[in-house]
């Protein structure tokens, strides 16, 4: 079995996790910029983080033969401070030409505030102006439904948005149809307690189809499982799905979306 992990916060993981992922069949890992678990106090902190995502972490992954790609942004949890957001947004363009950068992400909303929405719109504008892919984080738990609707509106309000170049992540049963109906890609995050379990993920694939959906583990510094994606393949097989279906969802789908970035090239294709 082969798979792509399209959303993993590897700076928070151990080398044992890299080894386990490669052993399970992982062919590439993609790392969106994320909240550190605490608020960074200056734009310089973000500069260092962007260097980590584009310089250091690819080298760490390479020791396990795993291609590493990244997405850059200010996380919505840190978007309340508009002055800091402006300083961080000004840093991003200089990183976009780095060879492992796929686009702008994971942008979005957290508590659905007016300031978060302003910063989201600025990120969308930056992505469109630089012809970058967009990876969107949708809010947690009770905030997800409202936030997903606000995010879709913000994306569609920008005349340059191309839905086929945007993936809206962390969808669940109440938000996935909203995302797919507007032509966006949808990401299902396999995350204990707060997002989706493997059985529910396969339910959504069975009811919504697998055309524009990818699975990811979003493993980070919290309780999370870097092998959640291959474990979901087991759930698919237990239900009688074919190996080709598993390959479509776990490898070909993320490959198809990510290949819209010229930087996403895997070794066997070059």
């Amino acid at each position: 079995m082969r798979y792509i992990e399209p959303h993993g916060h590897m700076v928070s993981r151990t080398t044992d996790d890299y080894l386990a992922m490669v052993t399970a069949g992982c062919k590439a890992v993609c790392e969106p910029a994320f909240w550190a678990g605490f608020d960074r106090r200056s734009a310089e902190g973000f500069y260092d983080y962007f260097c980590q995502l584009t310089e250091h972490e690819p080298k760490r992954a390479a020791k396990f033969g795993l291609p590493h790609f990244s997405w850059l942004c200010l996380n919505p949890k840190e978007s309340e401070d508009l002055a800091l957001a402006a300083d961080v947004l000004a840093l991003i363009p200089d990183f976009l030409d780095r060879p492992n950068v796929l686009g702008i992400g994971e942008i979005g909303l957290n508590k659905n505030t007016a300031n978060e929405l302003k910063v989201l719109e600025q990120h969308i504008d930056l992505a469109v102006s630089r012809d970058q892919l967009i990876l969107v984080h949708t809010p947690h738990l009770e905030d997800k439904l409202k936030g997903t609707k606000l995010i879709i509106d913000a994306l569609l309000n920008h005349s340059g948005t191309r839905p086929e170049r945007v993936i809206i992540d962390h969808v669940e049963e109440h938000t996935a149809p909203l995302v797919l109906d507007k032509g966006f890609w949808a990401g299902i995050t396999l995350y204990p307690e707060s997002k989706c379990t493997p059985p529910r993920a396969v339910d959504m694939l069975e009811t919504l189809g697998a055309d524009r959906i990818w699975l990811n583990c979003a493993c980070d510094w919290g309780v999370s499982d870097p092998l959640a994606v291959p474990k979901t393949a087991l759930e698919m097989k237990r239900r009688g799905h074919s190996g080709d279906f598993v390959d479509q969802v776990l490898y070909r789908n993320p490959h198809r979306f990510l290949s819209q970035s010229p930087n996403f090239r895997l070794q066997e294709e070059t």
């Binding site: 009770e142 905030d143 439904l145």
Partner: protein, 98 residues
């Protein structure tokens, strides 16, 4: 699992014990809360309200449970009071003054 099983039977065979276990966990959680005095927490109240979605035969129960636990408002919030989420929407009239 055998080739003669219907798909419906296969689904039940695969997941019944897991679903049973989660249902009993939920019942035990409500018992645990009730063993202690105090007023009803808004999250527990929301959980109990969402439970009615399980008792009928209409489809999309997961979607309806998620919607029952969601913030139903539409306008952006003026500011973030916290960075986290609790799992159930707290109606403004039940918020304690800050």
């Amino acid at each position: 699992m055998t080739a003669s099983q219907s798909p419906r039977q296969r689904v039940v065979d695969l997941a019944f014990l897991d679903a049973r276990s989660k249902l009993i966990d939920l019942a035990a959680f409500l018992d645990r809360v009730d063993r202690h005095p105090g007023s009803e927490d808004y999250r527990v109240a929301a959980l109990k309200s969402a439970l009615v979605e399980l008792s009928g035969n209409e489809p999309d129960r997961a979607r309806r449970v998620l919607e029952a636990l969601s913030d139903p408002t539409e306008e952006p919030a003026p500011r973030a009071e916290t960075q986290g989420a609790t799992g159930a929407w707290r109606p403004p009239e039940t918020c304690s003054p800050s």
